[in-house]
């Protein structure tokens, strides 16, 4: 039930890696991080951080394009290669918008790729849905457990420059 890579496994030659989406360095409270100055001070997009050894294995250099995909969706961005990232893990700062600098995905019929949360999925914890948790009782669009949509597994592969 939790496997989010069963179908996409058959699609391509990417490397299976852990995927986490921590809080954005550039997103303070609910302010937009996608204004010009903030984008200039980052890299003009929402890059994928990857360990230098994984990058070497996949033939990725800093600022190369990468495609991340699994059964939930696809995310196309540039890579940042750093020693700060543990091996076999990639991360993307969370809650980006698709409005800026979001290319198309060559793997999925050259349609516009998603944002970082396209790869994750909110899961509800069944015991919380059963109710009786203090004053809380689950009701659709009213009260639910917080989403655990911050990490999953993805395939990572290098791509040439995608279309917009």
């Amino acid at each position: 039930m939790l496997d989010e890579t069963a179908k996409s496994r058959l699609e391509g030659e990417g490397k299976l890696m852990g995927y986490v989406t921590p809080h954005g360095k550039w997103s303070i409270h609910s302010t937009y991080s996608d204004n010009e100055h903030m984008m200039t001070l980052s890299r003009g997009d929402y890059p994928v951080w990857i360990n230098k050894d994984d990058a070497r294995e996949l033939g990725i250099k800093d600022n190369d394009w990468v495609e991340l995909y699994n059964d939930n969706g696809v995310f196309v961005q540039r890579a940042i290669v750093s020693s700060r990232i543990p091996k076999e893990t990639v991360f993307v700062y969370h809650a980006t918008e698709r409005t800026i600098n979001t290319p198309k995905s060559p793997l999925r019929g050259n349609k516009r790729a998603g944002m970082n949360n396209s790869l994750t999925r909110v899961r509800l914890k069944p015991v919380l849905m059963s109710g009786g948790y203090a004053q809380f009782t689950y009701a659709f669009n009213y009260w639910g457990p917080t989403g655990v949509n911050r990490d999953t597994f993805v395939f990572v592969r290098k791509i040439e420059k995608p279309d917009y």
């Binding site: 890299r43 800026i100 600098n101 979001t102 290319p103 349609k111």
Partner: protein
């Protein structure tokens, strides 16, 4: 003794969180306009890294600052004759590749894109040509990167580090990075001023702010090449050079510069320093290992009656002398001696100072494994013996702040650690015990000094951090003009009536 006054800023690097609020507030205030898009009068670099413009410290290429030639001070860029002969040929000038091509996004596509089966997106476009572009570099490209084969490895300050230490900078749990905020250093011996063929750059008398007179600037751009910190930029639209002005219109009205005022980590302190201009020629011609000492020697004690007397004779206002006596920069720099200028080996006598950062958690090594928690034995937290294995290599800090001399860095870090021990013992034991006293003794600090460093580091209010003297602009304007004509304005270095109406 020729006493002059200088507004100086001090950066407490331990407190910098790398949020870039300073850069953005500076950008919004001064350089968010045509021709200035690529300028960052204030920027924050992640170190180890290559900085902005890329590898600006590479003076073999950029030819910034001064050099000693047969014991005499020479501009790195050129001599007077060569400067004249090569007036139209300046290969050491940084170009757009060394900075970056400023970009924005075609936001209107989000509204105007033709109907299709896909959602539109705003593509990156160049702010110079307006054409679509690939973003390949930026003013903060190596942000938070830390270990990186391309960026961190090419940091010139890694020179002289052992191969093991360099390898450590790539190792998870042992790597390290620090933030280095930079503005114009408003030097005492500015090479930009010396290099300008038009004599358009000057150091303002009252506060030492280095300014470009835009009416005299003839776009030779020798200043851009000659500034070793690469903090003069050429405005391609107006054809004039521009630089950080230390927000003097704000200082003249008693407000801190925008970068300092907006600083989230409250790392910036500002105050007046009195210095002896007569000592400068000698101080810039000493060997590398005496540079910092000679530099700090020129900063005078504002409590010394002789200095006060000489300052008054030079026309320095009593308000300025009083501000110098209260200056937090003076306390950190001269009383406690824990601050240093950036790259003294450029011999420009930078007047912005840095307190080098302590390392993050000091890890212990047990059976080949790194432990990040500290064992509870005696002396483990009192880590003087571990300075050499500190996560921020001492040699690296030395290359940044002391022309490679490790001893001054060691002394400062020992003091900062002693303050840490002092406070830890005080809160754990309830009093200053033997361990704390011993730590302070090793570092050469008295309990009062430790308390002072602690208070001004962690608990300063805005009034403690920024001590501004009364500028008395009305007097300096009155000397030349009818002050009523200038009511409500501050000096821009030259007089130009405001354009109003149609």
């Amino acid at each position: 003794m020729n006493v002059r006054s200088q507004m100086s800023m001090l950066f407490h690097l331990d407190k910098c969180i790398g949020c870039h609020t300073c850069s953005v507030s500076c950008k919004n205030l001064w350089t968010d306009r045509r021709g200035a898009e690529y300028m960052w009068w204030n920027n924050v670099e992640t170190r180890p890294g290559t900085g902005f413009p890329t590898q600006w410290e590479d003076q073999e290429h950029f030819q910034g600052g001064w050099k000693l030639e047969k014991g005499k001070l020479k501009l790195n860029l050129n001599s007077r004759t060569m400067g004249l002969l090569k007036l139209f040929y300046n290969p050491s000038l940084p170009d757009l590749k060394d900075y970056y091509e400023p970009f924005t996004f075609r936001y209107e596509d989000l509204f105007n894109a033709p109907e299709g089966d896909d959602q539109p997106t705003a593509v990156p476009v160049s702010k110079i040509t307006g054409e679509e572009m690939d973003i390949e570099t930026g003013p903060n490209w190596d942000d938070d990167l830390s270990g990186s084969n391309i960026y961190a490895n090419n940091d010139l300050n890694l020179e002289g580090l052992s191969p093991e230490t360099k390898a450590q900078l790539h190792e998870l749990e042992r790597l390290v990075y620090l933030y280095l905020p930079r503005i114009c250093n408003h030097c005492l011996n500015p090479s930009c001023v010396a290099a300008c063929p038009s004599g358009a750059i000057y150091k303002r008398g009252e506060d030492g702010v280095v300014l470009v007179n835009e009416n005299t600037c003839r776009a030779w751009r020798m200043c851009v090449a000659s500034c070793p910190y690469k903090k003069i930029y050429y405005n391609w639209d107006s054809g004039k050079s521009e630089k950080c002005i230390l927000c003097f219109p704000r200082m003249e009205t008693g407000q801190a510069p925008a970068c300092a005022h907006s600083c989230v980590g409250r790392i910036r302190y500002m105050g007046v320093l009195l210095y002896d201009a007569d000592q400068i020629p000698a101080a810039v011609e000493v060997p590398d290992d005496e540079l910092v000492e000679a530099h700090l020697e020129t900063i005078l004690d504002p409590h010394d009656p002789d200095v006060i007397q000489a300052a008054r004779e030079n026309g320095i206002d009593d308000g300025w002398i009083e501000a110098a006596q209260k200056s937090p920069v003076y306390s950190f720099l001269k009383e406690w001696k824990i601050a240093l200028p950036l790259h003294p080996e450029y011999r420009t006598m930078a007047m912005m100072y840095y307190i080098p950062p302590l390392s993050p958690v000091i890890s212990t090594i047990e059976e080949g494994l790194f432990r990040l928690d500290l064992t509870e034995e005696e002396h483990t937290f009192e880590t003087f013996d571990r300075l050499d294995t500190a996560r921020v290599p001492i040699k690296y800090l030395a290359n940044l702040f002391t022309a490679g001399e490790e001893e001054p860095i060691r002394k400062i870090l020992t003091k900062l650690q002693a303050v840490r021990v002092y406070n830890r013992r005080k809160s754990l034991e309830g009093s200053v015990d033997e361990v704390a006293r011993k730590a302070l003794q090793t570092a050469g600090l008295s309990p009062e000094e430790a308390e002072g460093i602690y208070q001004l580091t962690t608990k300063p209010t805005i009034e403690d951090r920024f001590i501004f003297p009364p500028y008395h602009r009305e007097m300096s304007i009155e000397a030349e003009n009818d002050p009523l004509k200038h009511s409500g304005t501050t000096g821009l270095g030259y007089i130009q009536p405001p354009k109003r109406g149609g």
